[in-house]
Amino acid sequence: MKITQSEVEHVASLARLSFSQGEIDGFTGQLNSILDYIAKLGELNTEGVSAVAHGFESANCFRGDVVLPSLPVEDTLGNAPEKEDGAFVVSKII
């Protein structure tokens, strides 16, 4: 499977990244060599093998549904690039 330059541009847009033309060229080549390598998995017949999300079975260990103190608003906003009246500020979207 070969990834084309326009697919690389599409993926970049999905990932919210922008690149110069030179970077797109570089990525296309590198991603293709990585994908060629990954294609190795196609050699394996995995019919009937279940997909696993973790190395071994373990159930989620949920804590009790009890209200605990959380971070104060001021601390939560401590790293905000822009804030106002206890809220994060972003540009207008509607």
Binding site: M1, I3, E7, V8, H10, V11, A12, L14, A15, R16, L17, S18, F19, F27, Q30, L31, S33, I34, Y37, I38, K40, L41, G42, L44, T46, V49, S50, A51, V52, A53, H54, G55, F56, S58, N60, C61, F62, R63, G64, L71, D75, T76, G78, N79, A80, P81, E82, F88, V90, S91, I93
Partner: protein
């Protein structure tokens, strides 16, 4: 008397208890050494000298007053810079988080602080733990203390170089595909990746959540057992942390390993393996045999598919995890932008380095419409086959022995031009993360040109205690490193 900075954690604790040395004296010795040595190695991103001195004074007070102390009280440690430390910036070696100051401590930090440990600083790493040489740090290189023209390994390169250069008594790293064990091997120190779920990941900045695990990097196996005992255990804030008792790892070391079945996977001693590495592994296996272990050949037939599987699963998880860096709540935000989407794109393009972008791209691609079954689903199935390989193998053996890396530390710049070559250097460490099992790197000799070589031991899930016991006995038979590099 040896130099203060050469003592292990265990030795320091004994000296503290006898009152022969004080925590303040030890912290001072490390801080003084860092003034001279750190500029040559570049292990740290941030040094926290004031915090260290305050913690050392408090530890000293506890010893003097005879108050409760632990094996880590007054022990100076360094922390990989992707573990959140309240009030101390945590950068992940990324421009994205250059000025990020966490409002909370990771669970492991709460535990270390509760145990009275002293934090000397935050260690350099590959950006967001993506890399095998620490050359992907957005800030600076870290050099290998044994040879300043070589890499310390990665991604926990600062944590490993910091211990080998005696800039701290021990450190914490994180391991997603070998990031504790490979740098430990390259720097001649011990590196332990515990079983997935053994140590809480709360406050560990996420790279690949089904693979990441925090673990210690130390001068010897005893110290690794001590640190693991302090940080392990259930955490209600990490739903993947295991509901299992934490054994007394240090006490468990002394048991004998006679009759242990040691598995040697035939797929791991492959062509392309550096002859010095192979010789070191064979010597270590011989030592285990001499201690009464039975060496058995085992097979992990899907080994050759582990890297491909890993680079699908890890990048898919990374692409999802790193979508949080959008310039809204914390981290870098671009200055000039037209609208919200443009702000996301500029912020992320300015904030992330090349390797991080490459992995986000690969992860986004394998998860994108039409490719999910061919890549992510396929990889998750192969992950099951890899896991089953280990289950079968551990029916026939107690621990598995392999190299950590195909060669000793490589030259700075040697692999930066070819990402795939860099990925392939993780061939021996990646499968343990996919299977969730514990692995440890123990120094087991030197190459002909004087570079340390580590050997990897692995055990079944939650058999960290058995793993440490085997590692401790192996260390005893091979002999610990006595002479650290002059820097």
């Amino acid at each position: 008397m040896p130099d203060i900075v050469d003592f292990t954690i265990k030795q320091l604790n004994t000296l503290f208890l006898k009152g022969e040395i004080s925590p303040v004296e030890v912290a001072r010795a490390y801080i003084d050494r860092a003034e001279r040595v750190e500029p040559k190695i570049g292990a740290y991103i941030t040094q926290t000298t004031e915090i260290a001195m305050a913690q050392a004074k408090e530890a000293e007070r506890r010893f003097v007053k005879g108050e409760d102390v632990t094996a880590l009280t007054g022990i100076p440690l360094g922390i990989k810079d992707l573990i959140c430390t309240k009030g101390v910036r945590t950068t992940c070696a990324s421009r994205m988080l250059k000025d990020f100051v966490p409002p909370y401590d990771a669970t492991v930090m709460e535990r270390l602080n509760g145990a009275g440990a002293v934090m000397l600083g935050k260690f350099n790493m590959d950006e967001f733990a993506m890399g095998s040489s620490t050359e992907n740090s957005a800030f600076h290189l870290t050099l290998n203390p044994w040879d300043l023209t070589r890499v310390p390994g990665g991604s926990s390169g600062g944590s490993a170089a910091g211990v080998a250069a005696r800039l701290c008594a021990g450190s914490l790293g994180s391991d997603t595909g070998g990031s504790i064990r490979q740098p430990a091997s390259h720097c001649g120190v011990v590196g332990l990746k515990p079983t997935y779920g053994r140590v809480s990941r709360y406050g560990l900045v996420a790279f690949a959540s089904s693979l990441d695990q925090i673990g210690p990097i130390t001068k010897d196996v005893t110290d690794a057992a001590i640190v693991l005992g302090a940080i392990a255990g259930l955490d209600p804030r990490d739903s993947t942390s295991a509901l299992r008792d934490v054994p007394e790892y240090e006490v468990g070391l002394s048991g004998d390993i006679k009759g242990y079945r040691v598995g040697l996977p035939k797929e791991y001693l492959i062509g392309g393996l550096d002859p010095d590495v192979e010789a070191a592994v064979r010597r270590a296996v011989g030592n285990l045999e001499a201690m009464g272990c039975n060496v058995v050949e085992i097979s992990l037939p899907h080994t050759e598919y582990a890297i491909a599987t890993y680079y699908i699963i890890a990048t898919a998880e990374a692409a999802s995890n790193l979508s949080r860096y959008d310039g809204v709540k914390y981290g870098h935000r671009a200055k000039d932008y037209k609208n919200l989407i443009d702000m996301y794109k500029k912020t992320r393009s300015e904030g992330f380095g090349l390797e991080v972008k490459r992995r986000i791209m690969l992860g986004t691609y394998v998860l994108s419409a039409g490719y999910y079954d061919a890549y992510y689903k396929k990889a998750s199935q192969v992950r099951n086959l890899i896991k089953q390989d280990f289950e079968k193998a551990f029916n026939a053996c107690d621990v598995i022995v392999t190299p950590v890396a195909p060669s000793p530390s490589f030259k700075l710049g040697e692999k930066t031009g070819d990402p795939l070559q860099m990925y392939l250097s993780d061939v021996f460490t990646i499968a343990t993360n996919l299977a969730g099992i514990p692995g440890i790197s123990v120094p087991c000799g030197f190459s002909r040109n004087g570079l340390p070589i580590g050997i990897q031991l692995m055990a079944g899930p939650f058999e960290d205690e058995k793993l440490l016991r085997a590692a401790y006995n192996l260390e005893k038979s091979v002999g610990k490193i006595e002479k650290w590099p002059e820097i």
